[in-house]
Symmetry: C3
Subunit: 317 residues, 3 copies
């Protein structure tokens, strides 16, 4: 084992070998902290510890960002990638089941990352093979590496997670990234402000979970004054297709755009995050604001994915 | 040369360097047996003997399975791949000839695998360049690596080819995999049962060849009792578009579906093969039948392609 | 530093590290000669001097040739590639700006090659990131690696550039490769013949530049006798869509087709070049003419791109 990983929990590291990464909710708090710790060490760790390893990237719907960051991660580790970027070129068009596709592809690779529009499909894939399967997003359900990189970014920007006041802004009803992050933050001692149009509130089920685990939260319709005093503002894209009336969309879009005018009101600690791509939610005039963290957040995705791939393929044992 | 290959026929190994793989019918029986023997050794041979080698994968029509298994094969050998998965992104759209495409691509790579809808196109490609060209399927014509992996699977599952009783089931009229395998089996001492609807019989030309080389065969319309006593049942997909009358298709589809109900009738030796993807031809309830070989067959494709690439690129000389 | 590069200008080599390659017009004559000299050394230099390096290939419009030759180049250098072949699979579809795409992708890679339909986009990309950006063609604007490989081919075929008589044939009005090459040749002491239909003459601005730098040129509508005595004939594709009247196109197409019948008239020194793909501009009966250089020209593209990538990524320092 490399010097850098000598003092990590070896049993825990071994427990990740061969493991599927389907939902952040599959992990205990200790496991999440372990993952974040291993990822932090990968910031400075550049060795190709997975030479010859092949990652199959099965993208049944396009997602450049997720696909390319996994490709970058496996290549940085000394491995390579194969797969497809779009179901159009897969045998699914011929009526093949996901089970069969996975059984065939397992012979081509050492691990599989799958993105699929159907909820639950990543779990089905994982149950079809002994190879580790990583969920790259299954419909409205889960996208665990997004959640892990979000948590990683919060901790890296703020040096802690516990004790933070975190705001979520925009479409809290449909945004998968938000649901998954809110849900996973239930392991931590945080305070939340949920800022959204009435029609795009966080689902009742999640609000009930927050209540049941004792996380204090409040709901708001305007950015200010809600964002004042926050440590983190996690913004999201508001999608036109969620609004039956285009005028409603235009109004909401402009209300939920963050720009430099809010800075004097929010205090000096506000870190701004966004899962990207952004359209109009964050004005480019914020890009050189030192705590605009969204591009660092995106870059953290490669670090976190390198750590995960190294763990599930036994690269640092 | 690696220990594992010390006792293979060195002259024969050298004869494959730079060679095109266009049709299984280009090979003598001894050459086929040599290829199967080298492939068998690759089961345990994992060394990257083609470091830095580049395979160009030119897929003028999509075929995920063939493409990905070649990609896996060259990557396992330490090389890499470039190319396209679909003619849409090629210069063919601008009216370029296949000859020109090959002359341009030969400068990018060490070997070429081509899939093209036109019969004879792989041969044209091979004649355009000094680089070894492997046919990944040229229309209804040939798909030599499929045939080699089928033969490899038969021998691996049954420890021999000579003396076997082999059934072919389904669409024997249009199925390229079946034609090519039947044709190549003419080198061997086997017995065949051809089970198909009357409208999808094996072409007369192939039946005549079987007669002329002295292979005993019989034709059947029902799986049972024909399949009883067989060693191998090679099933194939029946394509809806072959039937002018949809009702005919539905009837045939259900008659030619293999499931567990046939097991008590066929004896304990029946190995079931399928080139995949399957749709309804083989019921999933057969997947845990120990002699259901189709996923192993598919996995053998990587082994056989690793062996072939290593041979044509001189990797084990 | 490798033996082969010991006597090159080290300061100049260092000056290329991290540099963007946007337009051939950004280079001094000395720099161009330096690039051609380094590329010449790469003819025999096969070492993987960029192990682990990742090139992001962002193709917002398809271009198999440019994309695959960059892929080949980085793979030959020991690196790997990721990206997309077509904007359809990128986040641009979601309304992301080029700036954001580049800021995200820079975290995945060490250098970026971009092809984009909009003039100026490569410059925008370069200004968005510290990573070196190579322009793989930005609309009608520039395609610097094409120009460099053209110059490289001229020098390799003729052992010099100064003193040559170079003809340009076909669509001189819209052809980006021609504009860029003509413009860059203004650094050299050459003589030009411009052979085109009246409607497809070289733009006035470029003719004025030729005048101003003292390059002697003449314009012609027929290949012969203009091509007689030339050292180089650079032919280009005439695109049907440039002609409002299809009959005009058919007439021009046949007049500007080069074939063996011109050989007795043009002298023994005429080297024929073409950026490819060709359609009918050069008859296949010229392919075995020893000075038909177009396939060598295309192959030179990999050599030149290997040299460029090695320079901008510091691979031979």
């Amino acid at each position: 084992m490399h010097e850098l990983f000598k003092d990590i929990d070896q049993d825990r590291a071994r427990s990740f070998k061969g493991r599927d990464i389907i939902s952040p909710l599959d992990f205990e708090k200790d496991e999440i902290l372990f993952l974040l710790d291993v990822a932090r060490r990968f910031e400075t760790f550049r060795e190709p510890v997975l030479p010859g390893c092949i990652l199959a990237a099965l993208f049944f719907e396009p997602s450049t960002r997720t696909r390319l960051s996994f490709e970058s991660a496996i290549q940085r580790l000394g491995g390579s990638v194969l797969g497809f970027a779009d179901k159009g070129v897969s045998s699914v068009a011929k009526g093949e089941t996901l089970y069969d596709t996975i059984r065939v592809v397992e012979a081509y690779c050492d691990a599989i990352v799958i993105r699929h529009p159907l909820e639950g499909s990543a779990r089905v894939a994982a149950e079809s093979t002994e190879r580790p399967v990583i969920n790259g997003g299954d419909g409205a359900n889960q996208h665990p590496t997004q959640t892990l990189l979000d948590l990683y970014t919060i901790r890296k920007e703020k040096d802690r997670i516990d004790g933070l006041r975190i705001g979520f802004l925009g479409d809290l009803k449909y945004g998968r990234a938000v649901h998954s992050l809110v849900d996973t933050l239930c392991h931590f001692d945080v305070e939340m402000k949920l800022i959204s149009p009435k029609t795009l509130r966080l689902p009742a089920q999640l609000r009930e979970k927050l209540d049941s685990v004792g996380i204090s939260f409040s709901e708001h319709e305007e950015i200010l004054p809600a964002a004042a005093g926050l440590d983190i503002l996690y913004t999201t894209r508001i999608q036109k297709e969620r609004f039956p009336d285009l005028l409603d969309y235009e109004r909401v879009k402009s209300v939920y755009q963050v720009d430099r005018t809010i800075l004097p009101e929010v205090g000096e600690e506000l870190t701004i995050m966004h899962p990207l791509p952004r359209v109009t939610e964050i004005s480019p005039d914020l890009d050189d604001y030192p705590r605009a963290a969204y591009f660092r957040q995106s870059a953290n995705g490669v670090t976190v994915r390198r750590a995960l791939l190294a763990l599930v393929l036994g690269g640092i044992l």
